[in-house]
Symmetry: C2
Subunit: 137 residues, 2 copies
Amino acid sequence: MSFSELPTWLLSQAHLRAHGILNARLAEVDARGYEFRVLQSFAGATPLSQVAIGTLARLDRRDVTVTLTALEDAGHVVRRADPDDARRNVVELTPDGRARLAQLDAIVLAVQDEILRPLDDDARSGLLSALRLLSVG
Amino acid sequence: MSFSELPTWLLSQAHLRAHGILNARLAEVDARGYEFRVLQSFAGATPLSQVAIGTLARLDRRDVTVTLTALEDAGHVVRRADPDDARRNVVELTPDGRARLAQLDAIVLAVQDEILRPLDDDARSGLLSALRLLSVG
DNA sequence: CTCATATCAGAACGACTGACATTC
DNA sequence: CGAATGTCAGTCATTCTGATATGA
């Protein structure tokens, strides 16, 4: 059996194609995946500490720091010291950041459709539940 | 909808878990994915040029060069100039390389089972055909 | 003291781009 | 000449490991 028929290979190819499309669409508006995930963590409660962002966005603390710096430079978030705990930062979306989140949300949703286009509804739900099982083990 | 329910996310998580397991198993014998793919390209015809290896292993020329250098250092392949075309190298497995291929083949096959364990036969075949469709578009 | 927080430096893997000399 | 081959240097995104300074 050639490696190109292996589940691990097919998984990596499907992932590669999906994320190629996603990153291309995000790149068109000069965004990256980490930024989207961080912005999305503000969809619920806000403001957030960086640890909370890491939990919500499933990002390493290190990557939260780097991504927030980029978002801050772009004016999408503001960071300030937490008055209640000097170790923490309090991070909030700016109005620009909220607009950015809406923009990226729309892009990402459209990409999902584009990617799943080859599958009918049954195949889609079957795929998603299988992937959920595989993600956990 | 949170990003963690998106198809792109589930795809990346499933891929990440599968390749985490695969790379861990390969690392136990000090191997990497590229090496396996290159070795597997010798399963059919041999010897091969580096361009042929790139085609079979779906690797960039650059990565073929780097991977072959590692395999050559480990004694798994030999590279020599092609007498018929001085631009090319003729690459062959050594006996050690053939044993290495068999070893990695067994590891990779076992990993497939480990990964698919949560799915019954129907779910497996459904997943694989869906992934095939997604890989192409 | 121990723990949490944020930051920094750097690595790994996989995929890829641009350039180059050599040879066909 | 144009095209192919192998090599080299480097980028990119994603994930992760370690160390550090600071404060709770």
